[in-house]
Symmetry: C2
Subunit: 344 residues, 2 copies
């Protein structure tokens, strides 16, 4: 089958790789129907040192079950299923606590002999715990929105949930990428009425307004902080959802958080130390968030997608085949595309 591998910064190739098969009794094999490229894939795309063997890419996909191991129950050949962006047994103590990203028997896609999602098929470890059946057909118009439950919308939701967003909280979202826009939608879904989106790409912030942003602040850095404070009577907002992952973005987040508030970060940190010093202590600022345990949220969010109350799939603005994946990376890195959907 065909699958995408990254060999170095800027060097993604699509190659023939072995077809996946059942290796463990807990495995399933899934033929990929939709996958996509994640903003977090752009970090190695910008910085990965050259490697002799490519790394399999992709951690968001949905597809059709082709085979299951003998220990997998509840799934059958032909089922349309969604995979969250880590695989997990969904039974260990961490999973039961809703932290499937720390599953005792789980792990990431594309490492240690596990396939990536940017390919034609995937061997799914811990399939019974990992996969969620989707009650729609393979040609459903809902597939893009359903696919966002793999990662990007759940990530925005994780930001909103961990920051305690609710009807009485004001919210700032830092970043107008696909995660930031998802965070806007998630904050709106949690009942927030005031949502300030910090971003300067007009077509993205327009989608942010559709998703529920009430204010857009295109200024960055100190100027952006000043603008959000001005919009909030000098106080900042109760919650800030930091959806970028850089230190300047975190500084902005800490600059616009209200005393007693929570900054939730869901962009993978490109820094080692967070500027949480004496001032943040005196203001009782909480730094929370982290990698989103998407598996914990899918059942809750699925009905909203199936019944059309939310349409998070609007973050996809381009669709490509597997062989075009390298161009998809380029398009996202060049900001030509917000998020690329892959239809193998």
């Amino acid at each position: 089958m065909r699958a995408a591998l990254m060999y170095a910064a800027g060097d993604v190739r699509v190659e023939d790789v072995p077809d996946p098969g059942i290796q463990q009794p807990t495995d399933a094999v899934v033929r990929v129907v939709r996958s996509c490229i994640c903003g977090s894939d752009l970090w190695p795309y910008g910085s990965m040192p050259a490697a002799e063997h490519g790394v399999r890419m992709g951690h968001e996909f949905l597809g059709v079950v082709e085979d299951t191991g003998p220990d997998v129950s509840g799934l059958a050949r032909g089922d349309l299923v969604l995979a969250p962006f880590v695989w997990s047994d969904n039974t260990c103590d961490f999973c039961r606590a809703g932290l499937q990203t720390s599953c005792r028997h789980g792990g990431p896609w594309g490492r240690d002999g596990v396939d990536g999602g940017q390919g034609e098929a995937v061997r799914v470890p811990q399939a019974q715990g990992t996969l969620v059946k989707l009650p729609v057909a393979e040609d459903s118009a809902l597939l893009p929105s359903l696919l966002t439950l793999s990662d990007v919308f759940c990530t925005g939701h994780h930001a909103a949930v961990t920051a305690g967003v609710g009807p009485r909280t004001t919210v700032t979202v830092v970043g107008d990428g696909a995660v930031g826009l998802s965070a806007v939608l998630a904050a709106r879904r949690q009942g927030a009425e005031r949502i300030i989106l910090m971003g300067r790409h007009r077509e993205r912030t327009d989608l942010g307004r559709d998703f529920g942003a009430t204010d857009v602040v295109p200024e960055r850095g100190e100027e952006g902080v000043a603008r959000v404070r001005e919009l909030t009577g000098g106080d900042g907002t109760h919650a800030v959802l930091e959806c970028v992952g850089t230190l300047p973005a975190l500084r902005t987040a800490l600059g616009v958080i209200r005393a007693g508030g929570s900054v939730s970060r869901v962009g993978a940190p490109q820094y080692d130390d967070a500027p949480m010093g004496f001032d943040e202590f005196m203001r009782n600022i909480t730094l929370t968030g982290g990698v989103a345990p998407a598996r914990a949220y899918i059942e809750e969010l699925l009905p909203d997608v199936l019944e059309g109350r939310i349409d998070p799939g609007r973050v996809f603005d381009r669709t490509m085949g597997v062989d075009e994946v390298p161009d998809g990376y380029r398009a996202m890195a060049d900001r030509e595309s917000l998020k690329v959907l892959i239809a193998p």
Copy 2:
């Protein structure tokens, strides 16, 4: 009257200062019956640059109302009252949200013409919002425990509350100072059954055991982290209450926190940046806590002290008069005393 002033690191003096009087209609004057020295007073005691004019010290006291301004209701001459360690109107939006440390009309003791608690009397701004009446007499044996509601026990309680400590959480407390021991007692009060106290001063950790610590780890740094992990099956604890404020203590806290857990810091940070990088992100670690809004907690904690269910005043191991305050600082800095009670 006599009051303590700090002029430089290691230089605390007791001097005659003007008697306080009503200046604003919202003021009260309180004759101090008990005050104390805080662990946080030891930071300037260790590092304050020499100053021409001394700084009034002390932010924990209880005493008897001697006079009230015309806008103060609910308080009368002769009432025994407790002051939390910042003054606040207790009516603004921050106060109503339980964050009196960010009160829009509040401030710290000992600054900008406001008296400190380490003296014979105090002018209390925003007296109606700040002071809490105590239903005991001036000679009650409960005074030491009641005084801890000014700051130290409420600080331990704040750590436990913000870290989400409850019956199902395991807890590590970093630090065996008065705040750390208070945090042990607070965690026990919140229902925690497993409380690991990291500290190496035997007489202090013995009090920690009395307060509810189930394990004591005297090792520090990496050795201490390894020991706590060993005690918890490799995972660390759900909550860590960081009661020191130094970077090594925070590193220890982050080393023993379980994935998905919360580190609450209540020791004033002696660092600008917290090591909350990629690993903490992948493990979904929350950094929370901050300066404790003691005023928010007093009503809840008071009955437990009055009815003898908790005895947080056991952190005081020495009592001195006002004129002995400089020796009290020395004794605490030299670790001869855990916490000094002042009886003017």
